[in-house]
Subunit: 174 residues, 2 copies
DNA sequence: TATTGTTATACTCTATAACTATA
DNA sequence: TATAGTTATAGAGTATAACAATA
């Protein structure tokens, strides 16, 4: 409970001590060998496991900064599309507009993003990275790259490229 | 709001009408082309998108039965490991024991799973599929197979196998 | 009338911690 | 003391619906 940053923290998921289980289970598999059976052949199950592992690593690496996967995605999209509206951002992230409000509220409080009024349409804002947001994003990117290398440690370049391609096919709009 | 089954339902996520957006966006991409930039090269982002899409399809196909991905996984694991304890199930699913309690509560209410007392250890239960649970699981499996074929429509057999292999590597315990 | 951002509200999932009853 | 299951509680994430301001 550090006083400074009460918001946007949270360690999330999975207690650290639980990790030995898998090792122990594989070492003396005969003892209790819980079979996952058909599940290991299902895309959804494999995706969930992989995603939990990757997100856990992301949180471990970046929650100190108050950065979550969604917040990083938001920063990256604003950086690549300066002046984007909240509604457009919601469509890109595929979340509800109300979700974007909270996301931007948080990033604004962290002084990483600003809502700038638009003359052409007084209903909406143009989202921009602040100066601090830009430098923070550079720093965050380096950490994300390290995280990425860590979770892809068991894949070579070709395999990773291929995996991304297959995931894009599965994740493509129907 | 059908009176019969008030629990365990919920359509979840993403409004149906929203689906046209992606089509329109690709058709007239030039108009607003929001760039995802670096994000599309990140495993975590690709995993999230794929998982959302796959889970949405799962819900659409199976929530009528009151079956969610987690509940299906639970049924499958109990089927493959009859008599398993709740703690062991929690370890296998990689969730907290308290989460298993609710999961089993629900499946018990659906008359799919039973907690059976163990003589050797009066603290724990042996989990089993009920008779109805077994027949339901057969039916559910057929729907899951159809769902699986649908979300893997853009992959051939070899590609799917490969994808599962790569996902297992990424999702493997560190 | 339709859209943007917003607020209010609710529900799911999952976690931690404390409790009980055994072991 | 340690473990199995349970309960209570809390927080993150996301959804829907209704509203004000603006188009």
């Amino acid at each position: 409970m550090s006083a400074a940053k009460k918001k946007g923290k949270r360690a999330r998921r999975r207690s650290a001590p639980g990790k030995k289980i898998a090792i122990a289970a594989s070492r003396e598999a005969a003892q209790r060998a819980v079979s996952e059976g058909e599940l290991s052949g299902l895309i959804g199950y494999a995706l969930r496991r992989a995603q939990l592992r990757v997100f856990d690593d992301f949180y471990a690496a970046l929650s100190v900064e108050g950065i979550t996967p969604a917040r990083f995605s938001t920063l990256a999209i604003i950086d690549g599309n300066p002046g984007i509206s909240q509604t457009s951002l919601a469509q890109t992230l595929d979340i509800a507009r109300s979700g974007v409000v909270m996301l931007i509220d948080t990033l604004e409080q962290l002084d990483l993003v600003s809502r700038e009024p638009i003359e052409a349409d007084k209903r909406s804002y143009a989202l921009h990275l602040t100066r601090g947001g830009k430098t923070a994003l550079q720093r965050i990117r380096r950490q994300v790259a390290i995280h990425e290398a860590r979770v892809c440690a068991r894949l070579d370049e070709k395999e990773k490229k291929w995996l991304l391609k297959m995931l894009a096919r599965v994740g493509a709009a129907r």
